[in-house]
Amino acid sequence: MSKSKEEFYKALSEAVVEYDEDACKELSQEVLDNPDTLTPMEAVMNGLAAGMEEVGRLYDTHEYFVPEVLMCADALYAGLGILRPHIPKADAGVNAQVVIGSIQGDVHDIGKNLVKMMFDVAGWGVHDLGRDVPLEQFVEKQLDTNSEVVAMSAMMTTTMLGMKKVIAMIKEKNPECLIMLGGAPVTKDVANLFGADGYADSAGNAVSEGIKMIGRLREFQASKK
């Protein structure tokens, strides 16, 4: 007997929380095989993304740490890889784009990759510039793609100052563009001082913040129905 919609949600969510990549893949395929039960988009948002929200809660309560979160992310991506190609473009979440990367001088990208996942899940167009990215590249890519958000991370204090320059360059050319900063040395004061619109001070908090973003997106989408 095939699963109900709620049973799919629960199973997908648990597979993410339990970082079970195989289960995520199998369940995602099962979703595709049962198009009358639920849509791939519903499975992503109410199954995979809901699982990641629980992961965020477990992180906040110190039951999970970054290794677990990374494995949960892998499980989520395993399902997303199967479901995403079957989501009609019109349903694929928000019609928005983000430019993301670790700033020049910084070769760390765990936090950046976790935030990237949040945008991926939410159906954003993601332009990942990688790590150790020269400052001008953020500006050029934003202008080329007209992305709504630029997200930059720096794990070291010693690279953080480059962000300030990027923000100034982008805001000068495109004041509407939102800037997210992340990384261990980034505090609320620093984000304010640099003129950023949002921040997260660790990979983990990037997860929490990103997950909250997904939560808001899910509420938004539910309210549209």
Binding site: F65, P67, M71, Q104, H108, D132, T157, S202, A203
Partner: protein
């Protein structure tokens, strides 16, 4: 007038002998841009020759009034020597520390050359230590990344973090290999005659790892490292550390160093008054951002009141400091630190 020289003060401090006043120094980079500018060179150059590396360290400590010099400044020396390359950012207008451009993609692919201490900039760093030791005015500190953080310089950190759960034996073997490198390099600096050693396992705080994982994955290697050292040694970890203070205290280091996320008052309660505790001001938030040196003085006094034995920055000083803020750090430590600290008496 100071009764001890800077070098004497640092050495007596680590021996837990009475000193005249609180020493002002760090176990992490204290190079300031004012010193680099006065030498007429670019920041990218100071990492490339022994004369510039040692010269900028000496000039920075002279200008700031610090008691010690610490080199190198970047985290890439060993990773470069084992074959990961080096990016110096010579053309950048910003202050950027060298990094490694290449990382191995699997644990198995990592191939450490046996003579890594003779490769790339390692001999240059040795030569710089010789200059600092010959100068003789300051305490001389060497540091090395801890095995886990060093591993993150030469392979993808995500690989290591996930491997710690999924492939524990392979990660364990790899960390043992990293520990061997740390021991070889740090014992070499010990043989050169440095005054203190700092192991910076900075990537292992509870922002990333659980206390349980820290206990099983990180601590055994640190215990092995500190058991090999005869020179006074420090264990420094950045980020969240409150939950692992007791574990850090079991590693065998002579002193523990924390950044601004640590609750020093609680840490002091946990470790007691016999352990040297160092920390814990935010180097960027105080030395660069604060507009009024009186605010720096307040921040330094808080560190002392919380129970540190010397006021250390939580990380490398950001080189573009305000000199008045540095003076506030130094003067407050000297004056407010005339009274004994929990682990160190006064003459």
């Amino acid at each position: 007038m100071a009764e001890l020289t800077s070098k004497e003060r640092v050495n007596k401090f680590f021996k837990k002998e009475p000193i005249d006043t609180m020493p002002v120094f760090s176990g992490m980079g204290t190079v300031v841009i004012q010193a680099v500018n006065e030498m007429g060179v670019k920041f990218a150059q100071v990492h490339t020759t022994a004369e510039l590396l040692a010269g900028s360290a000496l000039k920075s400590s002279e200008m700031c009034g610090l008691d010690a010099v610490v080199i190198p400044y970047d985290m890439a020396t060993v990773a470069e020597a084992v074959g990961c390359g080096l990016t110096l950012y010579e053309n950048s207008a910003d202050i950027l520390y060298p990094t490694v451009p290449n990382k191995w993609e699997t644990l198995e692919a990592v191939d450490i050359p046996a003579d890594f201490m003779k490769r790339a900039r390692m001999p240059m760093v040795d030569e710089a230590f010789e200059i600092l030791l010959k100068d003789g005015r300051f305490g001389v500190g060497a540091w090395q990344l801890g095995p886990f953080t060093l591993a993150g310089q030469i392979i993808e950190l995500g690989l290591l973090l996930k491997g710690a759960k999924k492939n524990k034996e392979a990660v364990e073997a790899f960390l043992t290999k990293m520990t061997d490198i740390v021991i070889e390099s740090i014992k070499h600096y010990e043989s050169l005659g440095v005054d203190f050693l700092n192991i910076r396992e900075m990537g292992s705080g509870t922002d990333l790892l659980s206390p349980k994982m820290w206990n099983s994955l990180i601590q055994p290697h640190l215990i092995r490292i500190f058991s090999e050292l005869k020179t006074p040694s420090v264990l420094h970890i950045c980020g969240g550390t409150d939950m692992i203070v007791p574990l850090m205290n079991q590693c065998g280091a002579d002193a523990l160093s924390f950044d601004q996320k640590n609750t020093i008052t609680k840490t002091r309660e946990v470790v007691g008054n016999d352990v040297i505790v160092l920390g814990n001001f935010d180097p960027y938030g105080t030395m660069v951002q604060m507009e009024n040196p009186a605010d720096v003085e307040t921040a330094m006094k808080k560190c002392i009141d919380d129970g540190v034995d010397a006021v250390w920055p939580g990380c490398d000083l950001w080189p573009d400091v305000k000199m008045d803020n540095i003076k506030a750090w130094v003067n407050t430590s000297r004056e407010y630190g005339r009274k004994p600290s929990p682990a160190i008496g006064r003459l």
